[in-house]
């Protein structure tokens, strides 16, 4: 080919300089080392509580009487009800859920303002399940060094057996995770029985399958990549935080310059500056996301505090004070270097604002819940015909009313109409009691639709008159109101 020499000359490899390094970094497999200490203990306790709640909550019973399920927390999609202990929510009241989500995000912001990524380090499901999966891995395949060694070795029967065992336990945990999820959507003991005898609805098996798969892949394989690449919270968190927020911090004012224990002793004797960091890299070895905390705050760091435990144990061994890595702020590290006093302000406008908002939303929600109507009334005017002239010349309008009885027993109501003097109210199919008052009886936790006729007395009223429908609970006197119009020619 004619242009071959030119192409060849152009295809000569360009010199690889620092500026032209590859744009993508391949993932490094992380083998976190076991660690003991204060924060590890906190993490185990949080893990036990969080998973305990998740796995066993559907089995808690809550007696609501004969007309409602007795499961404390139940999302009853088929009947459109959400039960939460003493609260029962109908689909149109989904704003309670919105309020709960608003509250949750505000609490997240407050946690962030006080101590950075507490959520990431201790509470996030991704962290909790990954922690659990690492624990299983460590139990079967050994600690960091053994696992790294095995990863390099050729597979033996022992390694294979360990892998099979590890993945089996992982899948079992993942399966239980999916299994617990579906229990929130149906009566838990019944569903467990059905699942065991393969008589559960197909949807239950599908969801268990989906969640088994996601738990297994997210906690077993993707792990810290979820936090580093997939999760939006680290980005949002970085934008929301300020200099007062406590973070897992390497106190470089104390740690630098790094060196061996012996070298540091020699330097100290000579009165020269010597840091406490002995460069043992234990903080990196225990890190579940594989970062070096000594490089400062970074996006990959979930601030679980395990490096604090690792460093503290090393400091104890070499007889130096603990807390070389601790919950601190960069601002204070800088202040200590400059000899200025430290600043610790948990109470500051930001935290006051968040706490205030949480209190406000909480009060609004509690008030809304306390004042929640147990009856609802909706009125819809007939569209065709808008009004009817009766044989005596009077005008009548027809409406469809829908009553919702949120009580868990049958209730009886009367309906009245206000706004049109002397108007007559007829309920099609309504029962009439002795006083000539129509009685509407609505079943427990049900709605009832009725056709209602309002007839204006005497002369034709104005072309549009405001009307108020009032539904009164005969037992409690509770009322529900709805507005509509009376139309005339």
């Amino acid at each position: 080919m004619a242009d071959a020499p030119l192409a060849k000359s152009l295809a000569a490899p360009a010199p690889a300089s620092a500026e032209e390094a590859p744009l993508y970094v391949p993932r490094k497999q992380i083998y976190p080392q076991a660690v003991k200490g204060r924060f590890r203990t906190i993490k185990w306790v949080v893990l036990a509580i969080a998973l305990g709640i998740y796995y066993f909550l559907p089995f808690i019973r809550w007696d609501r009487g004969p007309n409602a399920p007795d499961q404390a927390i139940l999302v009853d999609l088929a009947n459109g009800r959400f039960y939460f202990f003493f609260i029962e929510i109908w689909p149109q009241e989904v704003y309670y859920l919105t309020g709960l989500l608003v509250l949750a995000s505000l609490v997240l912001f407050l946690m962030n303002a006080v101590a950075g990524r507490v959520w990431c380090g201790y509470l996030c499901p991704q962290t909790v399940w990954t922690d659990l999966f690492y624990a299983v891995e460590r139990l079967i395949e050994g600690d960091r060094r053994e696992r790294m060694k095995k990863a390099k070795e050729k597979w033996t029967l022992e390694i294979l057996a360990q892998k099979v065992l590890k993945h089996s336990i992982w899948i079992l945990i993942a399966w239980w995770t999916g299994g617990a999820w579906v229990l929130y959507f149906a009566d838990a003991p019944t569903l467990v029985k059905e699942l065991a005898t393969f008589q559960a609805p197909a949807m239950a098996y599908i969801w268990i399958g989906i969640l088994t798969f996601t738990t297994y892949t997210l906690a077993g394989f993707m792990r810290e990549q979820v936090c580093t690449y997939m999760c939006p919270w680290p980005r949002i968190q970085a934008a929301l935080t300020d200099e007062y927020a406590l973070n897992v911090t390497y106190r470089y004012d104390r740690g630098e310059p790094r060196g061996s224990v012996k070298k540091a002793e020699v330097l100290r004797k000579q009165g020269l500056p010597a840091g406490d960091c002995v460069d043992c890299v234990q903080c990196v070895a225990v890190c579940p996301t594989g970062v070096d905390i000594r490089k400062g705050l970074q996006l990959d760091c979930i601030q679980c505090g395990l490096c604090i435990d690792a460093c503290d144990s090393v400091m104890t061994k070499i007889g130096r004070p603990t807390g070389l890595i601790a919950y601190d702020t960069d601002m204070n590290v800088q202040a200590r270097i400059e000899g200025k006093p430290e600043v610790r302000r948990i109470v500051r406008p930001r935290t006051i604002l968040y706490a205030g908002l949480i209190a406000l939303v909480g009060i609004v929600m509690i008030a809304a819940l306390a004042m929640r109507q147990n009856i609802d009334l909706n009125v819809m005017h007939d569209r065709n015909p808008i009004f009817v002239r009766l044989s005596d010349g009077s005008i009548r309008n027809a409406y469809t009313i829908r009553m919702a009885n949120k009580h868990l027993e049958e209730r009886r109501y009367t309906l009245n109409v206000e706004g049109l003097d002397g108007a007559r109210l007829d309920i099609v199919g309504g029962r009439i009691d002795q006083d000539g008052q129509p009685i509407l009886s609505v079943g427990p936790d049900q709605t009832l639709e009725m056709r209602v006729l309002v007839t204006a007395a005497g002369d034709a009223p104005a072309s549009s008159t405001d009307l108020r429908f009032i539904l009164t609970d005969l037992a409690s006197g509770e009322t529900a109101r709805a507005r509509d119009h009376f139309k005339a020619p």
Partner: protein, 294 residues
């Protein structure tokens, strides 16, 4: 364009190149991920299997039916059967209960009304309107003026056999064409029209001969419409003393009726609708608002 058999690595991305180079731009060798490629092959296999299993390809006068023998029409029939089976409890109750029993059972009444509403939309709305408001010549079913009676039994009768639909069954009785057939003169029709308007308090022309009209009415109209114009449901003769006018209350409209006669027809539904549907329709129409007081 040229080929170079030596594998070359692009410095910036660290990816090997294909050796293709255009104006110093090199093509990187980024093959499709295996999982993607295998998914793609799997969809092809799936598509072939689907074409074999299900109806897929059009032929000249037919189509490939597929080895499963699946048929969309049969699937719909199955769905409808399942729906019928699901409703059968209420439908059976509806079929067995009498009209008055259904009226007393709120749950069954609501079910009947819902079914009746659907049937009304399918069969009746064409003339009576979607909400039963009627039109000129087609009665409004929401009011309390009934040509043939507004009780459950009377409404059922009207739906089953219609009005003036056949000579042997159902409602009969037509308004004769007094003018066209020469029974009354134009002058007399005018007088009786004024009288009829006065029955319901409508204003009449100055100098109208009401007394003359009353005499003509008594001689010619009272037999069907009653001596006070109160109507007769046996014959479907409208009440002329109330505020509701099937065709209108203008003198010219009344004159037109007197001249040409009236006799609008409602078809009989007995042979077109099943008993349960007629029952549901009866209850629905009755509940529109014109129900006679219990």
């Amino acid at each position: 364009m040229a080929h170079d058999t030596h594998e070359q690595i692009d410095a910036v991305t660290g990816v090997s190149t294909t050796g293709h180079s255009w104006d110093e731009i090199q093509e990187l060798n980024n093959p499709l991920p295996r999982w993607w490629l295998w998914s793609f092959y799997a969809t092809i296999v799936w598509a072939i299997a689907y074409c074999i299993a299900y109806p897929a390809w059009p032929l000249v006068s037919s189509y490939t039916t597929g080895v499963f023998g699946w048929h969309s029409r049969e699937a719909i029939v199955q769905d409808l059967d399942a729906l019928k089976a699901q409703r059968s409890g209420m439908t059976t109750k509806l079929a067995q209960a009498s009209l008055d029993e259904i009226r007393q059972d709120p749950e069954l009444f609501a079910f009947a009304r819902a079914q009746g509403k659907a049937a009304f939309g399918d069969n009746c709305a064409g003339c009576h309107g979607a909400g039963g408001a009627g039109a000129k010549g087609y009665p409004n079913l929401n009011d309390d003026d009934w040509l043939w009676g507004g009780s459950l039994q009377e409404i059922e009768q009207t739906i089953r056999f219609g009005a003036r639909a056949s000579l042997d069954k159902g409602h009969q009785g037509t308004m004769p064409a007094f003018g066209r057939d020469g029974m009354l003169k134009r002058q007399e029709l005018s007088q009786v029209s004024d009288f009829v308007r006065s029955l319901s308090g409508l204003p009449v022309e100055k100098g109208a001969n009401i007394a003359g009209g009353a005499k003509i009415f008594a001689d010619n109209c009272a037999a069907c419409h009653g001596d006070k114009g109160q109507g007769n449901r046996e014959l479907g003769a409208p009440n002329l003393s109330d505020q509701i006018w099937l065709y209108g209350s203008d003198k010219v409209v009344i004159m037109d009726g007197l001249w040409n006669g009236r006799g609008s027809v409602m078809p009989a539904w007995n042979d077109r609708l099943d008993d349960t549907t007629i029952k549901a329709l009866t209850l629905y129409v009755n509940s529109l608002g014109g129900a006679q007081p219990h």
